[in-house]
């Protein structure tokens, strides 16, 4: 009797201890409908003239330095650029497309998702969706694992592979500092044709649809970013199909954190049930043998 109680305490104790140990890793996401009054941006691709003043303003506002080719040089349109280019140091890029004889320019940068993949990927919480709307990055805690790059469906975050001591994650932060100071992001301020509009996301969505309804022949019936990847802070309206402008068309409308939510929900279940299952099997298996050895000890 005494022995089995000791066994019980031993097993029970380890069960409790192990469950507690595991709980730190137990994690869950929850449904999130977005911070109220969060800001966003609306890019109207029918208005953009490819002047690249947004790029210049962005580099200036974020102290990114000046590139080798000047911002007036249109030869950069020969290739499709990505938002971050190592030797330029840029958070955004304007690319040129020829669609059915029409020249269309598209600005690329972080989409500032409502529920970002990168934020749910970040194991130290360096990337965050701020209540103001921008997706921010905290240099002080980033460990450089680059899971955010693997996870982002828009291929936005970039890493400084040439830096050994201070590699940063580079991407557009929607001028978070300026927004909290009450100023408009630099690119929106610099745009001479109001192709970039800054404002509360819900208002921008209404504005986007009112433009489409106002001139149904000029626009296609799609606000890119309204529902993509669960909705993004940066919205686009266009006169030509988004698929012809290198927009990702296969990402669906599910917010990315949902993809790992089910998996994370089994963490607690496993931590609680395995000790019971395997501890139980052990006891069924070993009780006889234990009493046997105990008997031996008593004889001695």
């Amino acid at each position: 009797m005494k022995m089995s109680r000791r066994d019980f305490v031993k097993i029970g104790g380890s069960v409790v201890a192990l469950s507690l140990m595991g709980n730190t890793a137990a994690a869950g996401t929850h449904s999130f409908t977005g911070y109220p009054d969060r800001y966003g941006m609306l890019s109207d691709l029918t208005r953009c003239i490819g002047c690249r003043r947004c790029e210049a303003a962005c580099n200036k506002a974020n102290n990114l330095g000046t590139p080798k080719t000047s911002f007036e040089d249109t030869s950069v349109f020969e290739e499709k650029r990505r938002p971050y280019v190592a030797d330029v140091g840029s958070y955004t890029a304007v690319n040129r497309f020829e669609v059915d004889g029409k020249t269309v320019y598209r600005k690329v940068q972080c989409m500032h998702c409502e529920e970002p993949a990168c934020v749910s990927a970040c194991l130290v919480g360096a990337l965050q969706k701020s209540p103001e709307g921008p997706v921010t990055w905290n240099e002080k805690v980033c460990i450089g694992c680059r899971y955010c790059i693997t996870a982002c469906p828009f291929y936005v975050p970039a890493f400084e592979y040439s830096s050994a001591f201070d590699p940063k994650i580079q991407k557009c932060f929607m001028c978070h500092q300026r927004i909290t100071n009450g100023t408009v992001p630099a690119c929106a301020e610099a745009c001479p044709v109001e192709a970039i509009t800054f404002g509360k996301r819900d208002k921008l969505l209404k504005l986007a649809w009112s433009r489409i309804w106002g001139e149904p022949d000029k626009y296609i019936d799609h606000v890119y970013g309204e529902r993509e990847a669960g909705g993004t802070g940066w919205l686009y309206v266009s006169g030509v199909p988004f698929s012809k402008l290198d927009f990702q068309m296969d990402i669906g409308t599910t917010a990315y954190p949902e993809l790992t939510k089910d998996f994370l929900s089994i963490v607690n279940l496993t931590l609680v049930s395995w000790p019971a299952v395997f501890g139980g099997i052990y006891l069924m298996n070993h009780k006889d043998k234990k009493t046997h050895t105990e008997e031996k000890e008593v004889k001695k």
Binding site: A27, I143, F263
Partner: protein, 414 residues
């Protein structure tokens, strides 16, 4: 003690010098020990390790760019593809054999369990070495543990579990180290904790082996549809069970060939029966895996992607997976240890292919041109794996891994 010592001056046994010789230099003088190290295997291994270390130094001086081809579209290359995502499933050896012996009480497998745990421990240890090489700021590796938490991240779970499980396996294996050092009290302490450690191993392994698959749930458009599936966590877990088991079969065979002098009769005599027993389990596990893989592809409605180069590549991997359980089954039926060992090798190749395909080779499959890796990355991977082999050999040459320590017979775990 042994004959050698009895013929010598007994007072010598008390000196520090003696213990150093006994423990570290295989009872040779330092001069003879260094001489014994010079052989073709060690020279080749030494060169590989030196070149690899030079490249690792370059990486820490000039950034990851110096040795890898990782980019802003493909952030992870061979370092994590091999070191973490392929290394960890094989390191399931420790938890699978530990469960069999200590929980289910399958005494038949007792002779290989210490080796399986050592292989698991080293697998995790070197996964961390690979991770430290690949992390942008490796000096912050402990941040997710104490400083800044991202609990919604699958990688947070992986980080915690790898750290905890590394500690668990270090404790599990420490009993052999304590036997080697002759510290009876500490050994008794860790042996007493065997049950708790084994159950902790099951919990941590189930979750992080599957979590390695779950990490890629966040990249549905990037991993090719024949590999991406919402069942990835479970596919990774089931194949990790097989990986751990075939690793035991194959390393047992290698120890039989190259480390006989470090093994005892009990170990060598039991290997055939153990290999056949594990073979049976592998046949069942792999049948399950193949079934799960087929149904998951059907569930994701991805069979249409069989056309084209990636489809062919998938068939290569899949045929190996489909062949393996049949071979295991046949080998076990015929009681042919050789066939079971070959089946284990086929399984190992299939699992390596599967992991590299998921995390690396088919990643960004929609891009027309992709650069896969930089040759320096390959050298670094080979060098780190070589170090792992050398450390394994160093330990097996000294500690009771393939044999029972004569002073502790009859005091086994659990």
């Amino acid at each position: 003690m042994t004959d050698i010592i009895e013929t010598e001056d007994l007072r010598k046994t008390e000196t520090v010098e003696y213990w150093i010789n006994e423990l570290f230099f295989n009872r040779l003088s330092i001069k003879d020990y260094v001489k014994s190290l010079i052989n073709p295997f060690n020279i080749v291994a030494g060169i590989i390790v030196l070149v690899g270390l030079a490249f690792i130094f370059m990486r820490f001086a000039f950034g990851l760019e110096a040795i890898t081809d990782s980019s802003n579209t493909q952030a992870w290359g061979l370092l994590l593809g091999v070191g973490l995502f392929t290394g960890v499933p094989f390191s399931a050896s420790g938890f699978v054999m530990g469960t069999a012996v200590y929980i289910f009480g399958l005494k038949k497998y007792q002779p290989v369990v210490t080796n399986a745990i050592l292989l698991g421990f080293l697998g995790y240890l070197f996964a961390v070495v690979f991770l430290m090489t690949d992390l942008g700021r490796p000096w912050r590796i402990y941040y997710p543990m104490i400083l800044s938490f991202g609990p919604a991240s699958v990688m947070f779970l992986v980080a915690w579990h790898v750290a905890l499980y590394l500690s668990v396996q270090a404790l599990e294996f420490s009993s052999s180290a304590f036997e080697w050092l002759g510290i009876r009290s500490l050994r008794k302490l860790v042996v007493g904790a065997t049950l708790g450690l084994t159950i902790a191993g099951i919990m941590l392994s189930t979750l992080h082996q599957s979590a390695l698959g779950a990490m890629f749930l966040l990249a549905p458009g990037k991993v090719h549809p024949l590999w991406w599936s919402s069942y990835m966590p479970w596919l990774f877990f089931v194949s990790a069970l097989a990986a751990g088991l075939v690793y035991v079969i194959l390393v047992s065979k290698l120890t039989q060939m190259f480390m006989r002098n470090r093994a005892d009769e009990r170990y060598l005599a039991s290997l055939d029966e153990i290999t056949l027993g594990i073979g049976k389990a592998c046949a069942l596990i792999l049948f399950t895996y193949v079934g799960l893989r087929l149904t998951s592809i059907t569930y994701e409605n991805a069979w249409g992607y069989l056309q084209g180069a990636y489809g062919m590549w998938f068939l290569v991997e899949f045929l190996l997976f489909a062949l393996a359980p049949l071979m295991f089954f046949y080998g076990v039926q015929k009681k042919n240890v050789g066939i079971v060992q070959v089946s284990a090798l086929v399984t190992m190749i299939a699992i390596i292919l599967n992991r590299l395909n998921t995390v690396y080779i088919t990643f960004n499959w929609q891009f027309p041109h992709r650069e896969l890796f930089y040759w320096k990355e390959v050298i670094v991977v080979i060098a780190v794996l070589t170090i792992e082999v050398l450390v394994y050999r160093w330990i097996v040459n000294r500690m009771p891994v393939l044999r029972q320590h004569p002073d502790f017979i009859g005091e086994e775990h659990g």
